[in-house]
Amino acid sequence: MALPPPPLPAAFLSLFGDAFNFVFSGREAETGGVTVGGTSQVIELATKQIEVTLLALAVAILLAMPVGLWLGHRQQGEFLAVSAGNAGRAIPELALIALMAAAIGVGLVNLVVALAILGIPPILTNTYVGISQVDRASVEAARGMGMSETGIVRKVELPLAVPTIMGGVRTAAINIVATATIAPLAGILTLGDFIIARNVYGDAGVLAGAILVALMALALEGTLATIQWAMTSKGLKLNRS
């Protein structure tokens, strides 16, 4: 792995210029003939990536959060909930997507399932941890005042666990949106297509894809951080400082 020659500023800038042009005007495919890139394709692929990401995130939340809430409220199954998070991190995203595609077939549903699998562990673990770490005194007081068990979860534990739970959702979202980049391997064209299919889009397309994916991930993270901030009670923000 010899080091590449130090980049010339001009060449460096020109590649970014090419990427910029690729996004806004498109260019001829390396394979010849058709025009690739341009705003319409960018929007199409970006929309797809957001779509699969949000779908998978929603599935992961719907599956993992109730389990985490239940276990956390009962203070049971810590081993299960925490091991799930540890195990989830060890799943090689590439192998998961490839195997899903190869063994079950390409397609939206399979992709969403595979991505949701990546999202479940952090949401499950963080929901469990967030709920079970809620000050037991608050829970005992709520119960002693005659709140029902679901009332305790809804009105006491959940609001207090928002920061931790949202931390899990954000980890899941980052992992899902990143992995959705290699979705073209599973037959769903996302922005990652620009990156993976260099033979079609060329280096300008690859760089453009990389920039767009990075921006999308940062925007998603920023949005979720804002949602978390809005959902967190002011009383908790005081507590932190």
Binding site: M1, L3, P4, P7, A11, F12, L15, F16, N86, R89, A90, I91, P92, E93, L94, A95, L96, A98, L99, A101, A102, A103, V106, I174, V177, A178, T181, I182, P184, L185, G187, G192, D193, I195, I196, A197, N199, V200, D203, V206, L207, G209, A210, I211, V213, A214, A217, L218, E221
Partner: protein
């Protein structure tokens, strides 16, 4: 381009045939693994280098940042935000953002994986340092330890369980992520998942994926042991 990837490279398989299992692309062909285990040696070693360099690099940088932020509290927020951005940018995107600078190759992959690691390790080190009971550092100061003696002899040892926890998370995540290095021509086990132009050979995917998982588990176990050795006072608690 999907069709292109999906096309099974027949010559590659007939070379070292293990019968119909390969032709039919069954979920798992043990015979093929027995015949071909040697092809995983290099990718595994490359994978180890990728993970080892990225975690070591991430640790050194994050450690430096954490010490700085511990001394100067106002640095905490910008460091968290900065490492947070690096963490959020998907590695696969990072590889190619580096394209104009470092081109393709394992160095690019290592830089991107290092950038990913920083926040995980930074966060854990700062949490560990912050959680050192103030009365302990107060006592250390009281018996005449200097600031740097307090840091190295009291705070860092006491923060060790959290530091190791951060390293475990970073290492396990990096082992999984490093499979993507193949897209940056960085080698590693990903090369055996995206074999040439082929990603549909299930046995190959399973073997490469399993090696990655096993590697993650082994690293995790080793770090767990290291953590116990470095924080012997925690061992008794863990049992009860």
């Amino acid at each position: 381009m999907i069709e292109q990837l999906a096309a099974v490279d027949q010559s590659f398989f007939t070379d070292r045939s293990s019968g119909n299992c390969i032709q039919d692309n069954k979920l798992f062909c043990p015979g093929w693994v027995v015949d071909n285990y040697d092809r995983y040696v290099d990718p595994t070693l490359q994978h180890l280098v990728l993970v080892g360099s990225a975690v070591a690099g991430g640790f050194l940088i994050a450690f430096g940042l954490a010490i700085l932020a511990h001394r100067h509290r106002f640095l905490q927020t910008p460091f968290l935000a900065g490492t947070g951005i690096l963490y959020t940018i998907p590695s696969i995107s990072f590889f190619f953002l580096l394209l104009p600078i470092t081109g393709r190759g394992s160095l690019t992959a290592i830089i991107a994986l290092t950038a990913f690691n920083l926040q995980i390790i930074f966060r854990n080190i700062t949490t560990g340092l912050r959680n050192v009971p103030p009365n302990v550092t107060e006592a250390a100061r009281g018996i005449g330890l200097t600031r740097s003696q307090i840091l190295w002899q009291v705070e860092i040892p006491l923060a060790m369980p959290e530091i190791i926890a951060g390293l475990r998370i970073a290492t396990v995540s990096t082992v999984a992520l490093a499979t993507l290095a193949v897209f940056a021509n960085g080698g590693g086990l990903g090369t055996e998942i995206v074999t040439g132009s082929n990603i549909t050979f299930k046995t190959g995917i399973i073997v490469a994926g399993s090696i990655a998982v096993i590697m993650a588990i082994v690293f995790d176990g080793v770090l767990l042991l290291v953590g116990k050795l470095l924080a012997p006072w925690k061992r008794k608690q863990a049992i009860s």
